[in-house]
Symmetry: C2
Subunit: 394 residues, 2 copies
């Protein structure tokens, strides 16, 4: 298949592009380097050094003999988006190209507006490009388990059969997320479902859990193929961040009670889920939703697992929760759709944690411990450089 | 109370500002004249001539002895929004200031993106301004009954108690609307609900039905106080548009079977609903939703009522439905919240239709019949001046 990976220079977009290429697909990649720009803005860097996109693509060609074609530009530019889709002529478009940090979206008004505009407009432009160029292109869109929030009933895969006053309908699953970032993906889902209904497009919305890990079969072939390892409080996902704290003689910081439950998955499962979704497309007019995670953990359980694996005198510290979220809550979410299509999950193992700890130790000199602390508070509405900055949770 | 009306120069914002002022509230008004700009873009005008905002405000002062304070600017400008809220110091903000036409949002990619960006960013900026200036300000936000779509179960007022696998939760009512405009209001609702939850804001979301009528007790005091009377296929609401067709020797054009059922209300009830919502505010942290309509009709029933009232040889013509929507469908929507707070509905009467026909006859020389025809097709994704224009439904 011809597959265009939007956001193909990012943490997950890059390994996905490689994985699809390794499996014989013809892969194109779109990026505007926004993610590298956030590093500059926040004074952060990936713990593991990453090569430039040019170096990455050259290394992949050397290692695999395969070409991945880059297109550099912004999906918020409708002419660029249309032209890339028309030129590459994909069978499927995998859409990772969004601002993907909840704390980043909560920094202040400007970051909230940027996140929603960038994500919603980019996705609208992709929908229009598909509809105008070739409505048969299958859109595989990355959503988030965080879109659902923590309802007191079971979470299903995107749709819910509701019986009310004696009548029944299949409804979109009601969502109540916890950040302007997660809201942007709820908006996307509604827009995409409408495009499927009105224009007959075929889409798969993947509500992804929290990804951990940093290596895939493809990225480990050469250092220039490495993907990002974020550990800062803004972009670092919880497990990866705690691993870097563990090798930095820093307490593992858990927000609030740590009893918040989340769905997680291994980065190697992310790339497989995308492959499976592409190779088993949705039907014309179908808005298909999968919940893309493999296991549920409380944040405290993750911290304890890392503490135990790290050994030594690693401790767990509780910090005030900078977010507004339920502390302890019911959580039971369906995630059978991708397994039924063939996903064989990598469950979280001591081996994986050990290997992540080894990667983190190798690069720990790159870690800036000041980036561990949450600098964005949900209840503050001003800029972090404004008057509320003094109230930041340490 | 001090009440700031956003979009206060528009079809409903203007009569609402007058009504609140007449009831003794101190009213400020914000507008960027976007609605007058759409007229220029579409080559349309209000059937009833409308005065400039300056003339309107002067006339209101002459007639009532009361001042309404104008602030001219764009809510997408966060500094303007913040400064207006800080300067006027309202107790309540009534938010009409959105692009409100479904067909306009479906013209092409640019109009879809404009509609969602304008509406979502404006509302985000209002939320931030409230949170930063005074979280006690009550937001009264205009939504649409069209946000719900046409589910096969009863429509409730914003929330739905869902029982699933033996557990129960109060969820946001799932919405599946039929245009990028309606989707923008769904996005707004999600953002506002989050701001109530995270920041403790108090908001009332009014899912308004289709408004008909053109006069209120205040607007009829002087011709310079008149509000718009839109009859074009892009901005004209169905009943008003059919009335102008009836006095223009034009068939009453019904889309599809006309069996689509919609909730409607009289413009005099709109302004009363807003007053009631302002005077009975939501509680801090509450996201309160009312369905703001008084009666349900099929489109065909509306057309028949107007045909019968108009007399003569008025006919009803069926045109291909330019929209993607259910033709015949279940429709039963709750709308008791505002009645419980004191709304006394003006039900659609022959007298009202007669009076609207009289207004339309008085100004019929201003009507351009070419604007009756739907020029925007939901299934076309390109610009109406592009290659799809030849396919337009006549």
């Amino acid at each position: 298949m011809r597959i265009l990976v939007l956001g193909g220079d990012g943490y997950l977009g890059w390994p996905t592009a490689l994985h699809l290429s390794a499996r014989g697909h013809d892969v194109g990649l779109v990026d505007n380097f926004a993610r590298r720009g956030y590093d500059s803005e926040l004074g952060a860097t990936s713990l593991v050094p990453i090569a430039t996109l040019g170096e990455r693509l050259a290394a992949w060609h050397r290692e695999s003999g395969r070409l991945v074609v880059p297109y550099i530009g912004d999906l918020c530019d409708p002419a660029f988006t249309h032209d890339v889709v028309a030129t590459f002529a994909p069978d499927a478009i995998v859409h990772f190209a969004e601002q993907r940090s909840a704390p980043y979206s909560m920094i202040d008004q400007a970051h909230a507006v940027y996140t929603q505009t960038n994500n919603v407009v980019g996705t609208l432009n992709v929908l229009y490009a598909i509809a105008e160029v070739n409505p048969g292109i299958h859109l595989v869109k990355l959503g988030s388990m965080g879109e659902y929030g923590t309802p007191d009933i079971d979470i299903e895969e995107g749709w819910l059969e509701v019986t009310h006053n004696g009548r029944t309908d299949r409804m979109l699953y009601p969502k109540r997320p916890g950040s302007f970032y997660h809201l942007s993906k709820v908006h996307d889902s509604h827009n995409i479902e409408f495009a499927c209904r009105a224009w007959g497009l075929a889409a798969t919305d993947l509500n992804q859990g929290i990804v951990y890990g940093q290596e895939t079969d493809e990225t480990r072939l050469h250092p220039d193929l490495a993907t990002r390892f974020d550990y800062d409080a803004v972009f670092g996902t919880v497990l990866n961040r705690l691993v870097v704290q563990a090798v930095s003689d820093h307490p593992l910081t858990v927000y609030g009670s740590g009893r918040q439950t989340r769905g997680l998955l291994d980065i190697r499962d992310t790339v497989e889920c995308i492959r499976i979704a592409c190779e088993h497309p949705a039907s014309p007019g179908e808005f298909r939703v999968f919940n893309q995670f493999t296991e549920e953990f409380t944040v405290r359980a993750i911290a304890e697992k890392i503490r135990d694996a790290a050994g030594g005198d690693v401790t767990i510290a509780t910090v005030d929760n900078p977010r507004v979220e339920a502390d302890a809550h019911y959580y039971h979410a369906a995630h059978s759709g991708l397994v039924e299509l063939g996903l064989e999950p990598h469950l979280l193992s001591d081996t994986l944690v050990d290997s992540l700890l080894a990667i983190a130790r190798q690069h720990r000199d790159n870690a800036d411990p000041s980036l561990f602390d949450p600098s964005v508070r949900w209840r503050a509405t001003s800029s972090p450089v404004g008057p509320n900055a003094v109230e930041l949770v340490a």
